[in-house]
Symmetry: C2
C-alpha cells in the first residue's frame, strides 16, 4: 500500500469515527497509529474538527500528535484552541518541540503561551528562548538523567525507574559534580551489563564529547556526523550541563541546511517554508529579488555588446556564437561553484585550502576548455565542409571560437571556485555565489574575452 | 581551541609517542581520545606507520578507530596490513561498517576478506552483501536484542546483561514470534520503569513502524525523518526480522543524497568522493561529460542565431540584448528547477502535484516576467533620454525587449518546474534537470521567442 493510500485510509477511518461521535473508538484508533501518521491524517481535517479532536483527546496523546504537526499547522491550531486544553497540551510537549513552536509565533502570542506553562516549565522555556536563534541551545531538551560519581549501578537504575519518565533519551545518562559540571557520560547498557554494585565513577567515560549551547546549530550536525552518537550533552561556558541534543533533531537541521544551500545555489532566497505551503506572493518575492539583481548585472552585457556594435556590423557572423561562448563559461562556473560550496558545507574544504583548490581548478579549467574548444572547432569545420556558411575566413572564425572557449571556460571555472572563498572570507554565506550569480559574472567577462580574441585574430581579415 | 589546532596537537602527541616507541603511553592516549578523533590523527601519519599502529593496538580498539576512517583510507590499509591483524580487526568491526568497506573494495579483495571472518560473521556479511546496493539491507546491522512475548522484564534485563554486549543499540529491543516474525518493539526504558514481573507481551507496542530490506535506502531517511526514532527494525518480505538500522547511518545517507543532488543541480555527475580526495583526471571526467552535452545542446543557439543573420545585419541593435534575454530565461528556469527538485527529494511534492505546481508556476512566471519587463523598459528609456543610443525606433526596441522578457521568463519558469516531473515520470532522477541543463534548453527557445517578437513589432520599421 502506498503512503498516499495509507493516508487516505487513515483519514476515512478518522472521519467515520468523528461523524459517529465514537470517542472511545477514536481513542483506541489513535493509540494504535503512530503519532506521526495520526498527525498527517489530522492535517487533512478542517481546522475546527482538529481543534475539537484535541479537546477530546487525553492530554498526553494530544501533545504527542501535536508535536508531529508542521509548525505552521500548530500555529493555526493555537489560535483555534481554548486556553485550558492548550495549556495542558503545551505542558505535556517535550521542551525542544515547544521551543520550536514558540520561535515561530509572533512574540505577543508566544508570551501568552509561555504564561500558560507550569512555573517549572516556564523557567525552562524562557531559558531555551534566551539562546540565540540558530544556536545549539534552541535544539536542547532539558529532559535527561543526571547521576553522580558515588552512585552504584543499582541506585542509578532505581533513580531512572523513579525519575526517568520524562527523559527524552534513556540511552545515555550524564555524570555531574556538585556544581552540575559535566564529568562524563555512561551508556545505559553499561549499567545493564555490569555488577549492580559498581559505581558511576568507575563506569563513566573520561572522554567527553560535548556541544556548546551558544555555538551555531550546524556545529551540532558536524559533531553528530563525526562521532556517530544518538545524543550529545550541551554545556555552558563554565562547563555546566544545561541540556542534551538528540540526533533526530539534528537530521532536521542537516536537511534544512541542505535545502537552504540548494535554493541559494539555484539563485533565490531561502524559502523558509515548504514549497506547497508558501503563499504565491512570498514565492514570487523570494525569487524576484535575486532575479532582478541578476538582471541588473546582466545589463552590463548589453553595455558590452553595444561597445562592439561596429565589429558586429562588420562581421555579423560573430554574433552567432555569442550565446554559445557565454553559456559555456556560465556552465563551467556553475559546476565549480556548486562543488566548492558543498565541499565547504561538509567541512571537506576550509578557507586555508584556497591555494590548493585554485591550482586544481586552473588545471581542470584548462582541460575542460580545451575539450570544448576541440568540439567547437569540429562543429565549425564540419558545417563549413557541408554548407560553407561562414565565408572564406571560416578557419579564423573557428580559431576565434576555440581560443575564446579556452579563455572563457578557464575564467568561469576559476571565478566559480574562488568566489565562495571570497564570500566566506568576508563573512558571507558561500552559497550566495549561486550558479546564476557566477553565470552572470562570467557572461560579461566572457563577452570581453570573446571580442578581444576576435579583435586579435580577425584584425585585417574581417575587422 | 579550533578543530584544526586540536587535530595537530593530537597528531604531535601521536608522533612523539611513536618515535619514543612508548606503546603503553600510546594505548593510554588512544583510550582517552574519542575514536573519531584518533582516526583523524591517524590519517595524518604515513601509511606504514598507520599499519604498524594497528598491529600494535588491542583488537577492539583498533577496530573502533578503523571504523571511523574514510573508506578510501581503510582500503589502502587493507593492502598494507598483514592477514592475522586484518582478520582480527574485521571480526571486531560492526556489521554495517564492515559491509560499507566490502562494498567499496574490488570483488576479489572483498572475497578474500570475507574468507577471513569467523563462520558466523561470514554468514552475516554474505547476507548483507546479498542485498542490492543502495538498499536498506546494506545499512543494517544484525547486532540487536530479540525477546519473546512470555518473558518478564527481569528475564529481559538478565538476557541483555548476558547477551547484549554486541548489540549496536540497546535503546530498543524487538519482540519476535517462534518464526522470528517481528511482533513489536519496546523501549528499554519500559523495562526500567515497570515492575520486574511484567512481561514483554504486556509491554510491547502493537504498532510497528518498520523498514523493508529491499527498499531503496532513501526510504529509510524518510521514515526516520517522519517518526523521529533512533533505530528502526528491518523485515524481509515475509515479515521476518532481519536487522536494524540506526539513525547515525541515516544521517550519512541523507547528506550523501543532498550532495549528489547539489552536484547534479550544478550540472555535473555526482563525484562519489570528497572534492579534495578525488583525482584530477576523475574530477575533469565527471565535469566534462555534462559540459560537452550542454555544449552540444547550446550549439543549437548558433544554428538559431544563424537563421536570424539577416535580421541582425539590418538591426545590429537586436544582438545587443541577446545575452540579457536568454540569461533571464535561464536564471528563472534554474530557480524553478531547483525548487521543485528539492521539494521532491523532501517528499513535499509528488508526481500527482504537477497540475498544482504548473498553475503556481504560470502565475509566478508571469509575475516575475512582468517585473523584469518593467526594469528592461526603464533601462532602455533612461539610456535613450541620456545618450540616445538606440535610434528613432527606441520605443519599439523597448517593447520588443519587454515582451520577450515576459515570454522568456514564463517559458523558463514553466520548463524548469515541469522538467523534473517529466524526468521522474519516465523513471529518471529529477535532479538531472540541473540549472545549466534548463538554462541551455531555455537559451535556444529564448532566442526563438525574442526574434519572433522582434519580427512582429519591428516589421516595417526596422526589419
Amino acid at each position: 500500500m502506498s503512503d498516499q493510500n495509507l493516508k487516505s485510509t487513515l483519514f476515512q477511518d478518522l472521519v467515520d469515527l468523528l461523524q459517529n461521535r465514537d470517542f472511545p473508538g477514536l481513542k483506541l484508533f489513535l493509540e494504535e497509529v503512530p503519532p506521526a501518521d495520526s498527525a498527517e491524517a489530522f492535517e487533512l481535517l478542517p481546522e475546527e474538527e482538529q481543534a475539537l479532536l484535541f479537546r477530546l483527546l487525553p492530554t498526553g496523546m494530544a501533545a504527542e500528535v501535536f508535536e508531529y504537526m508542521p509548525v505552521e499547522n500548530q500555529e493555526r491550531l493555537v489560535h483555534a484552541m481554548g486556553g485550558v486544553e492548550l495549556a495542558a497540551i503545551l505542558n505535556a510537549m517535550s521542551a525542544d518541540d515547544r521551543t520550536a513552536l514558540f520561535e515561530e509565533l509572533p512574540t505577543p502570542v508566544s508570551a501568552r503561551l509561555v504564561a500558560m506553562l507550569s512555573p517549572e516549565k516556564r523557567a525552562t522555556a524562557l531559558d531555551l528562548l534566551n539562546y540565540p536563534e540558530d544556536s545549539v541551545g534552541r535544539l536542547m531538551t532539558s529532559e535527561y538523567v543526571k547521576v553522580r560519581d558515588p552512585w552504584s549501578a543499582r541506585r542509578v537504575l532505581d533513580h531512572i525507574r523513579a525519575h526517568g519518565r520524562n527523559s527524552e533519551t534513556l540511552n545515555i545518562v550524564y555524570a555531574v559534580d556538585d556544581h552540575d559540571r559535566l564529568l562524563g557520560d555512561i551508556r545505559i547498557r553499561e549499567f545493564l551489563l555490569c555488577p549492580l554494585d559498581e559505581t558511576v565513577g568507575e563506569l563513566r567515560n573520561e572522554v567527553i564529547v560535548c556541544l556548546h549551547a551558544m555555538d551555531h546549530k550546524e556545529s551540532a550536525v558536524e559533531a553528530f556526523r563525526k562521532y556517530d552518537r544518538t545524543a550529545l550533552p550541551v554545556v555552558d561556558k563554565f562547563g555546566g550541563l544545561v541540556g542534551i541534543v538528540t540526533v533526530d533533531d539534528v537530521l532536521d537541521v542537516a536537511e534544512e541546511r541542505a535545502t537552504e544551500d540548494m535554493q541559494k545555489i539555484g539563485g533565490m532566497e531561502h524559502l523558509d517554508e515548504p514549497y506547497m505551503e508558501i503563499s504565491l506572493g512570498m514565492l514570487v518575492k523570494k525569487r524576484a529579488t535575486w532575479l532582478v539583481v541578476l538582471f541588473l548585472g546582466e545589463m552590463l552585457t548589453a553595455t558590452a555588446m553595444a561597445g562592439y556594435q561596429d565589429e558586429i556590423a562588420k562581421a555579423v557572423v560573430l554574433s552567432i556564437f555569442v550565446p554559445l561562448i557565454i553559456s559555456s563559461g556560465g556552465n563551467s562556473g556553475s559546476q565549480a561553484a556548486t562543488l566548492i560550496i558543498r565541499a565547504m558545507a561538509l567541512g571537506e574544504v576550509g578557507l586555508g585550502d584556497w591555494w590548493k583548490v585554485m591550482r586544481r581548478e586552473i588545471l581542470s579549467g584548462l582541460a575542460l576548455g580545451i575539450i570544448l574548444a576541440i568540439f567547437g572547432f569540429l562543429r565549425i569545420s564540419v558545417w563549413t565542409a557541408i554548407w560553407h556558411p561562414y565565408g572564406e575566413h571560416w578557419i579564423l572564425i573557428a580559431a576565434t571560437v576555440s581560443f575564446s572557449l579556452i579563455g572563457v571556460v578557464l575564467w568561469g571555472t576559476l571565478s566559480g571556485s574562488m568566489l565562495p572563498f571570497l564570500l566566506k572570507r568576508v563573512g558571507l554565506d558561500p552559497a550566495t555565489s549561486s550558479a546564476p550569480f557566477v553565470a552572470t559574472l562570467v557572461d560579461v567577462t566572457g563577452l570581453l574575452i570573446y571580442f578581444a580574441v576576435a579583435g586579435a585574430i580577425l584584425k585585417g581579415a574581417m575587422l
